[in-house]
């Protein structure tokens, strides 16, 4: 039986629970797990104060309940599976290095910020700053995969250096802002100021977008590698029709204020 944490008492104020991570819960029995410390606002509390703990860790943790005030779940995790049923608070999987997080619900801001490896699958919507850097830091994610089936808000993939972000719905403003490298695929529409300040990297959208005046049209073509990416994300459960697998894409180069080596690809026909 895998380890299950069910929320029995909703926190009044945010709980910081970076202990909810395979690395921290491994090799502990139920009573030891319940006694692990979390912060409820400024007061130190125990996991058992909020969660009913059942089972033993066997490589998988299930967390259940309305976790919208529980922050830092899975932060810094290196391996194992973490399955979250319900909406979850900020900083989910922040600094994650490996393993897999699956969320059946919505996530708040800063999900997967500065992750270096592993995979996060979000079946609902993501908040602002998805896969971004932390305030004051120059680099966002440097590896790993972030798969969002719903929408994402502002600054998805801000300053990312490597890795893959897939957004099945729409993204809002400043998608891939200050991007250094890596790939962002938005199957829906993007907001304004996409790729502002990007140095390298690829942003792909299946819809038209209002681009900044510092991006220049290069050509309309079919990038060979794109079929590989799209086939891959189709396997992850996204609807991608054959026209897009073999279709043509407009290539816009930018941002000319920076290196001008980034590209925004917009599906044409």
């Amino acid at each position: 039986m895998s380890l299950t944490l069910s929320l029995h008492t909703s926190p009044e104020v945010p709980v910081e629970a970076d202990v909810i991570s395979p690395d921290r819960l491994n090799n502990l029995n139920e009573s030891a797990l319940s006694a692990l410390p979390v912060f409820h606002g400024n007061v130190q509390a125990k996991i058992g104060d909020f969660f009913k703990v059942q089972g033993q860790y066997n490589g998988e943790i299930r967390v259940e309940g309305d976790l919208s005030k529980v922050k830092h779940i899975g932060a810094g995790m290196t391996s194992g599976r973490l399955i979250v049923n319900g909406d979850v608070g900020a900083h989910l999987g922040a600094g994650m290095q490996g393993g897999k997080i699956i969320v059946d619900g919505n996530v708040a801001d800063w999900a997967a910020s500065e992750m270096t490896g592993g995979r996060i699958i979000i079946k609902g919507n993501a908040g602002h700053m998805l896969g971004s850097s932390i305030r004051g830091s120059a680099t966002g994610i440097t590896g790993g995969e972030i798969i969002v089936h719903g929408n994402a808000r502002n600054e998805a993939g801000q300053a990312m250096r490597n890795g893959l972000i897939v957004i099945g719905g729409n993204s809002e403003d400043l998608t891939g802002v200050n991007m250094l490298s890596g790939t962002i695929i938005v199957l829906g529409k993007m907001g304004i100021r996409t790729g502002a300040g990007m140095k390298r990297g690829t942003i792909l959208s299946m819809h038209d977008a209002d681009l900044l005046s510092t991006f220049t049209y290069a050509c309309t073509y079919h990038p060979t590698y794109l079929r590989l990416y799209l086939t891959y994300i189709k396997k992850l459960g996204f609807q991608i029709d054959d026209a897009k697998l073999s279709g043509n894409y407009e290539r816009w180069a930018g941002d000319s204020i920076e290196l001008n080596r980034g590209e925004i690809l917009l599906y044409r026909n």
Binding site: V13, N42, A75, G76, G95, G136, V177
Partner: protein, 456 residues
């Protein structure tokens, strides 16, 4: 008016971020009010004349008058018992009061935020993200031959910025005043500042980022897509002309206001402007300054940065300061996170915060320190009446260019100052917290590790 008057020279007006220190105040000592404020602008004159001693209790709990000591005890108990308390305001308090507030936030392990978060907070974030090419207003007065006002309206918000520092005043290298300067205004509206400007550029609202981005490209000699006129409403030739003027001036300065910081894009707007100014320093000397609103909001940023390392939106839940606007700023803490106690210092958030935040204020114990009745003090549980900083109390305020200025009070008030109240609360919170925090210190050092990594 009685004949018992006193004149105070070189007094300081603490209404706006100009913090003009050349006031000549005539004080009626019998009536405890200022009858004349020579040199003050229209805003300063009403600031001085409106401050009279109101007949209010020094302290009240739940609408009932209590002693100062009882109110201090109640406040300290509220703040210590809370799990997620916040302190907000600070922009109309002296540096001395602000530092006491930071100490309270530290001891009670709560959040502290200034009015910057709903004003020039994006500027503080751009300082951190991009850096600032800075200056003092004295340099602007003596050297600036190109002055740009972007998304601000000094004629109505900082009237003496024009006459004392930036436009009409004559300086060492600007002997003829305005004749030697080119003044540019960037604002979609024809504001009261427009007549001062030699060039008024009127972009479509909320297209500042696109316009700055195009200017950056032009300054660097890159091609700009002609669609820029459709997006911003400003012809490419106008932008080219402005870019050339900026590159070829001797000393340029941009003042900017909330038209930029609170428009769509927020800290990316300010960051873009700061980056543009950095780019311009390849060609000439160019600086940028936020036109700050309240008298000592600059001081709030200074004190918080000096004490915690961050300018606003700082949280001490784990015992050390963390900075994250959007997570630890007052509106978010109230509206989303359910802050369970709040202390508002010299500000009136109940009159201007979003509805969800104000609703939360009504559910929790609120402590208010203010010189006068306000919407916030009406809903507060503990209310302190304070003397007016700068008018009744000594202290220090920071001008918008980060210059500290010593205050010269005009008359005495029967009410205690912010500093006295906050210092008393601080001492009591400290005592109460020794008991609250005496356990669990070893576990605390362990729990923060992953979080610390995530918040660096």
């Amino acid at each position: 008016m009685s004949e018992n008057t006193r004149t105070i020279k070189n007094a300081v007006c603490t209404f706006c971020g100009c913090v003009c220190d050349d006031m000549e105040l005539t004080v009626d000592l019998d009536e405890h009010r200022i009858t004349k404020a020579k040199n003050a602008c229209i805003l300063g004159r009403s600031w001085f004349s409106e401050h009279v001693i109101e007949d209010r209790p020094i302290a009240a709990i739940g609408g009932k008058e209590v002693s100062f000591e009882e109110a201090v005890e109640e406040s300290a108990q509220i703040l210590t018992k809370a799990k997620f308390p916040i302190i907000y305001g600070l922009s109309e308090a002296s540096v001395e009061a602000q530092r006491e507030a930071v100490a309270i936030a530290d001891y009670m392990r709560g959040s502290i935020d200034s009015t910057s978060s709903v004003c020039h907070g994006p500027t503080g974030m751009a300082f951190q993200g991009v850096g600032e090419s800075t200056t003092t207003l004295g340099e602007v007065k003596n050297r600036a031959d190109l002055v740009i006002f972007w998304g601000c309206n000094p004629a109505e918000a900082h009237p003496r910025l024009f006459t004392r520092y930036a436009v009409t005043t004559k300086g060492m290298f600007i002997p003829r005043g305005k004749k030697d300067r080119t003044v540019v205004l960037v604002d979609p509206r024809k504001t009261a500042s427009a007549p001062v400007a030699n060039i008024h550029i009127r972009p479509k609202p909320a297209t500042d980022f696109e316009m700055i981005w195009a200017l950056r490209a032009l300054i660097k000699g890159k091609k700009v897509n002609a669609s820029i006129e459709k997006v911003t409403g400003v012809p490419l030739e106008t932008l080219q002309d402005l870019a050339e003027r900026m590159k070829n001036c001797n000393f340029g300065v941009v003042f900017f206001g909330m038209g930029l910081t609170m428009g769509r894009g927020r800290y990316f707007n300010t960051g873009a402007l700061f980056s543009m100014v950095t780019d311009l320093n390849e060609y000439t000397h160019f600086v940028v300054k936020p036109a700050r609103g309240h008298g000592n909001v600059t001081g709030a940023d200074q004190v918080l940065t000096w004490q915690t390392g961050y300018p606003f939106g700082v949280n001490f839940n784990l015992g050390y300061p963390r900075f994250n606007p959007g997570e630890f700023t007052a509106v978010d803490n109230l509206a989303r996170d359910g802050a369970d106690a709040a202390m508002f210092i010299a500000s009136d958030p109940a009159s201007n915060f979003p509805k969800a935040a104000v609703e939360q204020m009504k559910r929790i114990p609120v402590i208010s320190l203010d010189t006068r009745r306000s919407v916030t003090s009406e809903l507060a549980y503990v209310v302190f009446s304070t003397s007016a900083w700068g008018l009744n109390e000594h202290g220090t305020a920071y001008r918008m260019d980060d210059i500290p200025i010593t205050l010269r009070p005009a008359f005495e008030s029967p009410y205690p100052s912010d500093v006295v109240i906050l210092s008393a609360i601080k001492n009591r919170v400290f005592e109460l917290n020794i008991d609250k925090r005496s356990i669990g210190m070893s576990a605390r050092s362990d729990i923060g590790k992953a979080t610390l990594h995530a918040s660096m």
